[in-house]
Symmetry: C2
Subunit: 329 residues, 2 copies
């Protein structure tokens, strides 16, 4: 039986998701939603650089859902939960399952408990499931480390390091992490909340709560990585002393002891990109993924691969830590 | 709320599970079952080398379950499904959830479809869940590789290598893999089904079916690893030319192409013990766990850590590929 999918939000990530859904025989894209007036009225196939296939982009969410009756809506419009919550509520009210790339939705129970409870109630009311996921948050720094604790009888601490070489990635990601800007500009963007990975606290809380750890305190930091010598990028020359990327951390403490450390490096020419997960437990588990899990393609994959899991999940606001294990396809 | 647990089968693995359950505040061991007349009537605490704590071992399964009304029975009596199926059916008929270390139960749908369907029906009839799990099968060579496909949009092949140095493990495991026996004795034991890891085909089928791969053919092999020079063990001296352990493989093919390769080495002084998972996909994922996940402690951990997952799972015969992700605690 074909599973009916609506794609909501057709920016780069949303289009990547749509492209993947279209390629899968078990799914049919039955509707497409975006508010961008340059996209509304166009065929989704065209936006994907393909032939039109008869799915026009609309901006009226409820009308699309009422007409197409999807099994699941794949939502990719933003990172900030308070901004996308009205969209999610509108979707849930129609009685459809929703998977969203909204980073703050991946585990909102600790940072935004009221919003989490409202969305959970809205989903339960209609017997559907809502999930926020992606490669990070959602996988590399939270649900994958959790899955690696399965063989442990004791877990004393969890440390995750993700090193991304943005030189191997697309230019928009290089811009996003501040390649080539000054320290001062970096500091300004941090203050304005305009730079940095969203979701590290959510990953921290997903891991802590799932391990039944009550953190007494948590800290996060964001710092620039600074170029030691000049180098060339597709965007031009970057001088020594300029920013070459970001280093972000989140740490959780119990009784003064650091029990959780999420360490994220995203910078130009980062040597030895990788994901490592180090569980100090009985037994200890030390895992590494050579080269690391790439970002954008993996986020689209995880969103689409999560569809079977959320169709079988308990109604409500789920997380990657409690739905059936997500795997290809 | 305390979760009520009955431990069924009090051999080394069953006692390891019981010891772990006793150590967890959220669980109460309310009953213990074994047919061994040297254990029946004794207190479980004593069998664990501790003080008695008022749980006597009984051999009458239905009576124990009727009296103690457990939320879950942890079952560890054997590897061969046809032999333990009557025990599992008796448990399911009482309306209790069951987690078993029976290797062939980890994914019996392909090799023993009728038995699988009967157990599934028995569990559904009573609205409970039955799960077979452990470190292998159940985790390292099946559900963990599956979890690592989550970021993939394409998976072309999966290769898992597990190298266990039995010199670092207990003597019974060394005996189990044939350390010190002759090639001839090894061949005889293979013929009699008295040597070798049980569960490699189950792991193969769990991965293949979950990836929606229809294997046209699968192969398995078991060979001795032979000592090149003499060495000493706790059991005595082993001569060059004797057996030092086993090498087992399972391979799955589609259109003549090998798409799945499970490669298991368990031998004395194996250099560089590790678990590696190599997914040829988009993106490719290459993971390794330094030293590998140890066997017995991990099996006990996974069985106990799976309790919350099966209490939330859909009724029926589940597998590690479809229940909510198992993690500590």
């Amino acid at each position: 039986m074909t599973i009916r999918v609506v794609c909501y939000g057709l920016g780069p990530i949303g289009l990547g998701i749509a492209r993947l859904v279209v390629s899968r025989p078990e799914y049919a894209v039955v509707g497409a939603i975006d508010i961008d007036s340059t996209k509304v009225g166009r065929d989704l196939g065209e936006l994907l650089g393909d032939m039109p296939f008869g799915v026009k982009v609309h901006s009226d969410v409820s009308a699309v859902v009422a007409e197409t009756r999807p099994d699941v809506v794949l939502h990719a419009t933003g990172s900030v939960l308070s901004q996308v919550a009205p969209q999610l509520n509108e979707l849930l009210a129609t009685g459809t399952n929703v998977i969203s790339t909204c980073e703050e939705l991946s585990y909102p129970w600790t940072a935004q408990p009221q919003l989490a409870a409202e969305l959970d109630a809205a989903a339960r009311r209609r017997g559907v499931t809502l999930l926020g996921t992606g490669v990070n948050p959602g996988y590399v720094m939270d649900s994958l480390p959790l899955a690696l604790t399965a063989p442990c009888v004791v877990v004393r601490s969890v440390r995750v390091t993700r090193i991304v070489d943005v030189a191997q990635r697309r230019v928009p990601l290089q811009r996003k992490v501040g390649v080539g800007i000054t320290r001062k500009e970096f500091a300004q963007r941090v203050q304005q909340g305009r730079i940095g990975h969203v979701g590290l606290p959510e990953s921290l809380h997903m891991v802590a709560t799932s391990l039944r750890w009550q953190l007494e305190r948590f800290e996060s930091s964001i710092e620039p990585v600074i170029a030691k010598s000049p180098f060339m990028t597709e965007m031009g020359r970057v001088e020594a002393g300029s920013v070459t990327g970001i280093h972000q951390t989140a740490r959780g403490f119990i009784s003064g002891r650091e029990v959780l450390f999420l360490d994220l490096w995203m910078y130009f020419d980062a040597p030895d990109p990788q994901d490592t997960i180090d569980i100090d437990g009985d037994p200890p588990i030390r895992m590494s993924i050579e080269g690391g899990v790439p970002g954008d393609i993996a986020t689209a994959a995880i969103v689409v691969n999560a569809i079977p899991s959320i169709l079988r999940a308990t109604p409500g606001l789920g997380s990657m830590a409690d739905i059936p294990v997500v795997h290809f396809p």
